[in-house]
């Protein structure tokens, strides 16, 4: 029973690599903002911390647990936004979400993140790939001062 090529599209080697060796996977000692989110279907949880230098993300740390997609997506997100300004990170988030939700052709600036496009064929897993990014959006909003106090939920699972 060989696996379908489609399944390989989901579990690309680079995704599994991030899953096994997550980057920036530790809490920050001094964070400017901390946000968390969860996906009630599978219990995925992501806690995210950002430290800024002026408007630039100077340090990022995250924790949580969940499936390979949610964890790899968080790891890749953390690499992708580190060093960017809030506005750049937000633009990247928007591009990523567009690729995941609408199946739009990936924006070339997404780089490695493009490997997650395969998740698009697995509607039920899209939420997994988006979780970390939603928490990022919360964190950026919180920093911009629209913070909601209590931990916000992210998306309802499908």
């Amino acid at each position: 029973m060989p696996l379908e090529p489609e399944l390989d599209e989901l579990y690309r080697e680079i995704i599994l690599d991030h899953y096994r060796s997550p980057r920036n996977h530790a809490p920050l000692a001094h964070a400017d903002v901390s946000e968390e989110g969860l996906n009630p279907l599978c219990g995925d949880e992501i806690a995210l911390q950002l430290a800024f230098n002026d408007d630039r993300i100077a340090a990022i740390g995250w924790g949580g647990r969940g499936c390979s997609i949610s964890q790899a997506a968080a790891s890749m997100m953390s690499e992708a936004v580190l060093g960017r300004t809030a506005a750049e990170a937000e633009a990247l988030r928007a591009a990523f979400e567009a690729m995941m939700s609408s199946g739009a052709e990936p924006d070339s600036e997404l780089g490695d993140l493009e490997v997650l496009q395969g998740v698009n064929k697995f509607p039920v897993r899209i939420k997994c790939a988006l979780l970390a990014w939603k928490v990022l959006a919360q964190a950026l909003a919180a920093r911009a001062g629209h913070s909601s106090r209590q931990p916000r939920q992210v998306e309802r699972s499908r």
């Binding site: 969860l38 009630p40 279907l41 509607p123 039920v124 897993r125 939920q153 699972s157 499908r158």
Partner: protein, 415 residues
Amino acid sequence: MLDVAAIRRDFPILARQVRGRRLVYLDNAATTQKPRQVIEALVRVYEQHNANPHRGVHTLATETTDLYEAARAHVARFINARRAEEVVFTENATAAINLVAHSWGRATLKPRDEVVLTHMEHHANLVPWQITAAETGAVLRFIPLLPDGTLDMDAARRLIGPATRIVAVTAMSNVLGTINDLRPLIDLAHEFGAVVLVDGAQSVPHIATDVQALHCDFLAFSAHKMLGPTGVGVLYGRYELLDRMGPFLAGGSMILKVEWERSRYNEVPWRFEAGTPNYADAIAFDAALDYLEALGMDAVREHEVQLTAYALGRLAEVDGMRIFGPPDATRRGGVISFYYGDIHPHDVGTVLDYAGVAVRAGHHCAQPLMQLLDVPATVRASFYVYNGRDDVDALTDALTETAKVFGYAARTRAG
């Protein structure tokens, strides 16, 4: 105009006989029949997709979830809600109203706050408010009726005021057929900061509904009264309102995070859908909406106005007939309640059944209104898309027969 003959062919039950006679189904205000398109949609769920939605990553669960949420989105479009999340699926219209009486009412109402109802409410939009009022100390006020069976708007303007917290009113009476002019009532309620729940159980199936144009805060109705299966009701609520309401039924799916002693609840609308929803019937309801949209809700309304006008005319020819509700067919729905001579409605119903004519005889879940009308019950004939003039004729013919049984001197002047 609707092509009644073609429509009838879509409804398998209409081919059936009752005691050797063609079934003339005139009990549509109670529940409607189902076209094969709806029955087939239901069969399709069970034969092809069936799985518990919202809880699984496997293909069947994904398919069922998509179909279920597509049904929700379709309902939202059908009533022109701003977003699908404004649609909560419940067991029936009654459960939808109970949800509001509980989650909004018990949390909001204080002693001496006023709940304004009308004298034409169905028990479903009366008894839940009695219970909530008893629990909170709120007071029920009732907008009375004018002799023609319409709301007394002058009285309404006196009743609705600063103490009013909610106005819960039917869009169309299931006894009198009266279609209420809701917009002025709703504007009045909003002036005083009250919210408005519209009982659309009788209106949504028969008249195009636009919750945004109506400005209502809540709307309740039932799938089974609009060609859909049983076991599905809808509560529409403005998102901001729903979002502030606590849960009603509790269990799986309506939660976000559960600990032993407390829980955080899910987003709207899922917060209000506890446990395994009746997804198969909700998905089949989607097909009922397709069917109605293909006919066109304006054509449905037009058909019923004409049929009701015809029926009012034919019934008026029957001697000793006392018809309730507004005389003008454009101001009422296709629901005609009457009292025939001195023959008890129960007896009329039995004789009509012998003629194959299914009508309702009783209090129509509006007991106190019966007292106002000073009758123990009424006979009610109600129409839908598959009814034609031949059905009305069958009704009047059978009434003549009824008079014979009871020795009542009924004559139809022109029949």
